[in-house]
Amino acid sequence: MTNVIGKSATRVEDKRLLTGQGKYIDDLGTKVSTGHAAILRSSHPHAYIKSIDKEAALKMPGVKGIITGEDIRGLVKPFSVGVMAPVEYYPLAIDKVRYVGEPMAIIVAKDRYAAEDALEKIKVVYEALPPLVGIERALEEDAPILHENVGSNIANHREFNYGDVDKAFEEADRIVKHKFNFPKYTATPVETYGVVAEYDPAHDQYTVQANFHGPFVIHSIMAQALQIPSNKLRIIVPKDIGGSYGIKAGIFPYIVLCGLASKLIGCPVKWIEDRQEHLSSSASGTDRVTYIEAAVENSGKVTGLRMKMIDNVGAYIRAPEPASLYRNHANSTGAYDIQNLHIDAYAIMTNKSPTGLIRGYGGQELYFPLERIMQEVAKELNMDHADVIRKNLVKEAQFPYKTASGGTYDSGNYEESFELALATGKYEEFRKKQEEARKNGKILGVGLACIVEPSGSNMGYITVALTPEERAGSLPKSGASEAATVSMDPLGSVNVRISTTPSGQGHETVAAQIVSEVLGLPREQINVVAELDTSTSAWSIASGSYSSRFASLGSSAIYYAAHKVRAKLFKIAADQLNVKEADLELEKGSIFVKNNPDKKFSVKRAAGLAHWHPTSLPDGMEPGIYETYYYTADVAQAPNEQDMINSSVTYGFVADMVTVEIDPDTAEVKIIDYFTVHDAGKLLNPLIVDGQIMGGLAHGLGGALYEELAYDKNGQFLTGSFMDYLCPTAPEIPNVTIKHTESPSPLTPLGAKGLGEGNTMSAPVAVANAVSDALAHLDIMIDDLPLSPTRIWKLMGEAKEKVTTP
């Protein structure tokens, strides 16, 4: 074997990207007839649309057509979504707008400049309605209702009881509880959404190029909305996507919109979202209120948890929501051995933009209250936070560990990884430094967080949004399928076709590494095709790039597809050499007899025979070499009657320690050092791995300190540009030390788990814990993010007041 899996191989993608030869959606040529779209968006958070006058706009030079909500009424069905609430979500607002930035009309013109000129001429008359902004306000009796036919603002509500929660709370020595708010924030890939849609009336066929990366279950949703057979909607994903971190899954309404516009106006339609549109109306994470209660023994052991989680999915619940609530369902108790769990989960709707996938999806919202409360438990019991964590971590001997809610943590050694984090960060030493510093008026703090990082989502988890009775009425869902195709052409060259629609994660490189190893060919000779075409690629509903599923699932499909090719080559060689397949070995492009290496047959020739000389093949063998493998993991079962669900395939572990200094005068938080230990099983390419971790961490730090999609109390959107939506830049990133432990997953052939999301989940709470630790002398409660200086200064001021005026 060439042994390239697990090596820090450099990336095959890089050369084209470094020389400006990448092919992103906006780089693909278009036909001369193509019209360019601009989208008219609501300036109101909540209003009836009284009228839209497009006459003057239609007369503007270069305008090809304008489509409003009224024009698509009846032509599209509402997008389906996995909840019972009859929410009607269309690609353009009809009758009513429900958030600032909601699309109301699409203008197609000869270029984007002309389209924007026309947009300014459209006159809209609104009748304003009271806006709904606050999460808990949404549940109040007299709250404004967004969707009259739903009757309330609740899109989904489920309650879950695992173990004996009441007993745990009755027997607890103490109950530690608090309410935490997690803000709405997003991921802002530097490349925005882009769609080129062409409707072909002769075949009633929509062909759409878009930087959409799945999950491809959404293909079905789009076809249903368009009311067409699904093979009439062909989606082609370009080779290069300029980042997504989940956000681009939210492009689907625009795919349908541009498709419809192409049909109604009669030309191909290209739309490249601009940054203002992206910030106000693409997709984001949910903002969430969590009431968390922990039943605690005086020893520090947590015996039960109650969480009431209210997730704000924005103005319309849309697929894959309410998945943010359930994506982490199996790992709701995080890294801790807690078998009594009560969850009261709400997805509610307010006049903010609709949410969707985002790096860490649901994890940061879950771990913020969970890891904060663990620190509060320590405070309450006067224990060291590290000791409370130690007391509660799942023990090595417990693996595979069954969680309260139905998950199976496949492998890990949490204690070892956690201790490694503390040792790397010199925890005890820092505690001493902190004490010293305090004497000199300096404010230092240390934050800890331990989280379980799920990867490879089980398509069945989303159905826990329904009750077991409701589920019984529909098709059961399970699995975590992914497909890959490995083929060899007549001259023995290898092509690999993947359906994981990468957006920077280096799938081409890792796919080439895997196939190179399995087929014993140099990596440079393997061509990987990352473009996905729903009409010609092998794909399934789960295909795509999200939930860190490449390492666990995508790689497995590639591995097995390559093995199918390998098996066929072995069969051919065995037949030609007149030996048994079991006696053969493969190395450096040559298949040889193990105990007689001179007796050999080249891979190239074996492949050649399959094309040039098929009658020479063993009896019954098909000509050609073209093997597709659909992989799924058995552990991705549908939920059972008790709502037990193993929501992901593999579970990694992250232990973080972060140290901060707070300026006592300005309340600015400076991160001194960030230490993170990951156990992601077997690492497929350490170079790529650390890059993924750094990226996820930077995003997590953004969530901790800078990023928020903010609305004022009237529902007006406040962060419509990069001057106000603050993404961390290089100077904001602290020193980071990454360490790895390796507990290979027993479930996947390569033993790998996902790892690009862990720190996005952990960093917000790790930093919050550090700030809370730093300000412990003032007894300040950190229950809100981001930790901007203005927020911390206010808390410090209030605390000092409390101290001075008893």
């Binding site: 984007r112 400049y113 924007e116 000129d117 300014e120 601009d274 940054r275 203002q276 005068d665 300005t666 309340a667 600015e668 800078y706 903010a710 406040l718 962060t719 540009s721 001057m723 106000d724 603050l726 961390p728 830049t729 100077p731 904001e732 901007s788 200086p789 203005t790 200064w793 206010k794």
Partner: protein, 289 residues
Amino acid sequence: MKPPKFEYYKPATLEEALNLLEEAGDDGKIIAGGQSLVPIMNMRLASPKCLIDINGLEELSYIKNEDNTLKIGTLTRQSDVEQSEMVANVCGLLAEAITQIGHVQTRNRGTIGGSIVHADPSAELPLALLTLNGSVQITSKDEVRTVAAEDFFITYLTTDIMPTEVLTEVTIPLMEEKSGYSFQEVARRHGDFALVAAACHMTVDDEGIITAVRLALGGVEAIPLLIGDAEDILTGEQLSDLLMEQVTESVEMESDPESDLHASSEYRMHLAKVLTKRVLTQAYERARG
């Protein structure tokens, strides 16, 4: 985000530019570095009918030290000032302030004059100019006039310049021997506009007695704010905690910061006081050498 239509002129001389401005009247708009104007045009928050591009006026790009006065042509790129050794030697405050404007790439294009005319209340250059008791030279077809920084800024994004005028030069009287300065700001991220910025310039005699001082703040009012009382309180004295306390009281009296997403009014006020003390302390230390 595409800009609206406009007519475009690129004069080759100042005279030509002034004629064009005269002709265009209220419809005319100068474009210099474009680092403030083009973003708002792309967002269609500004739609000038007629854009007069002064980037061809090479004669307006220079840095000179004449008669102990620093003279900078309006079109001088911020990065040219940043890299000027002469500026670093004779006007440390300006050199320090300039590195905090945006980013290398925006400074490569953004001009000295553009920033001052744009007059963002928390911008660095207007604050530095005010603190250094600088002035601007304004040229129109009819006259060349000089306006002190103190009189130039009128209100939020508004200055004493007419649509037919061009800011041509910025002048700054140079520091005396025993002087010190400080420029400090608190911003959310590196390169962001300051939440609050403070600048101070002072001269001190051999006994440590302050002989002159100017203190100004950005981000606490619609324009950069000179704290006139600082001069009265500190001149003739050595810097002390007590006096600094008095100065911050004046700061509190004179500023009226606004609240926004990134900072509450109270927090800005607090920062104004903190930064006041910091710049006074640093300027004093530097002046004493």
